[in-house]
Amino acid sequence: MTDLMTDENLISKIEAILLVSDEPISAKSLAKSLTTTEDKISTAIESRVEFYKENSFGFTISQIAGGFRFETLSELDDFVVKFVTQDQPSKLSPAALETLAIVAYRQPISRAQISAIRGVNADGVMKLLIQRGYVEEVGRDVGIGQALLFGTSNLFLEKMGLNSLDDLPSLSDFIPDATEVEALEQILKPAFDE
């Protein structure tokens, strides 16, 4: 009875952790966080996965890249694909292109800094760019708040036909007027860092 209680508590903690983690979490890391053993973690997950199956859950916990994560059932792929592709843009919006340009030329940069440059909240477009893999987390700010910092990905370089970020066209190639270039660079410096 006590054992069962503990197990239930353990699996609910595991579930909570996996729900908010955006990459697979290893049994080792779970065991350490929940001060238990890797075996207990694995057993708890196995029996819960069985329970999901018996009750026709739409998801399960799978093991991938040395860790656990929630995944949708492959039988439901058609519904999920239909959902994720509905209302999805087929072209980059001007707002998304602007945001991508800011990230490309001003990386590493935080969401708040991008918002400050654009004057509107950038979370939505950033979400899209991250989802599509063009932009990724590259670290955390050392300052107060330790904001997440973003940069462009290898996929971005690949899609743009660039070998490296050094191959990005320089502003002065496109804008002959030196003061114009300077003004543009000024704008890329956010007015304040949150």
Partner: protein, 267 residues
């Protein structure tokens, strides 16, 4: 003194006034305005940077207090329903409703802070689609080339620029084709033929902005001295000029009979 400026967050003059009145049982008769002013001057002197907004806020509160106190000190009036008193009533009601508003939203904001705090510890799933589903999505960078990024940056710059970058002075250097006197003559001549003319018709033969300005000033001047009536039914709509009492006057006659500001449009 009730006015502890250093610890005060100073969110707005109305707010501070409210605090003064409510939390300190402000009795205007007891209140020494000179003490407040002294304190205010001391704070201003201590400011590292001259903060115009804060100084203005202080001045506003001080002036409201001065007004309230002076009203109380003045002898009572005989009639309670004079026009001036009604105005005072109205003013006071406005101030009261602002104080109540201010207090209300101040209270609400405390609740907002609490709600945000509480919901910041609610963790929703933000992970999104895994690679299996993101590959089902179309490639958004298909038609994008590096130059597009530069154009996007240039667009941000354009959008961020103030709409008017420099004042266009070309109209100043252009010399007007007509003087105000000539415009007067032209307007009165046109109006003698008929009672009404639109401003657009009036300036038909003129394309330089400065000439149109001259005509406009002349029209305003005629309106000011009561020679014409002006009507405009909507913003930026047609301006209709109607002769008032059909005088057959030349400009010099008008100048002689009324005092008219003449504009030296040539300089």
């Amino acid at each position: 003194m009730v006015f502890d400026v250093k610890t005060d967050k100073f969110e707005g003059p109305i707010d501070v006034l409210y605090k003064l009145i409510v939390s300190h049982d402000l009795d205007l008769n007891e209140l020494s305005l000179s003490l407040i002013v002294d304190e205010f001057v001391a704070v201003v002197n201590k400011m590292d940077q001259f903060d115009l907004e804060r100084v203005t806020e202080f001045t506003l509160i001080a002036s409201i207090l001065v007004e309230l106190k002076s009203r109380r000190l003045l002898p009572e009036k005989e009639s309670l329903l004079g026009e001036e008193d009604l105005l005072l009533f109205e003013e006071r009601d406005l101030l009261l409703s602002r104080l109540v508003d201010c207090r209300t939203f101040r209270e609400v904001s405390k609740l907002f802070a609490k709600m945000m705090e509480e919901s910041s510890s609610r963790y929703g799933r933000k992970v999104g689609k895994n690679e299996k589903f993101s590959s089902a999505l179309s490639d958004l960078l298909e038609d994008v080339v590096p130059a597009d990024l530069i154009y996007a940056l240039m667009k941000i710059k354009r959008d961020r620029q103030p709409k008017i970058q420099h004042v266009d002075l070309s109209h100043v250097s252009a010399s007007p084709r007509i003087s105000i006197e000539e415009a007067f003559a032209s307007i009165t001549r046109e109006l003698n033929g008929r009672q009404t003319i639109s401003f657009k018709e009036l300036v038909k033969g003129y394309s330089q902005p400065i000439d149109i300005v001259v005509f406009f000033l002349a029209t305003l001047e005629l309106y000011k001295i009561g020679i014409v009536e002006l009507e405009q039914f909507k913003t930026f709509g047609e301006l209709k000029i109607t002769l008032n009492n059909a005088p057959n006057l030349s400009f010099s006659q008008i100048v002689a009979s009324e005092s008219i500001d003449t504009y030296d449009a040539g300089s």
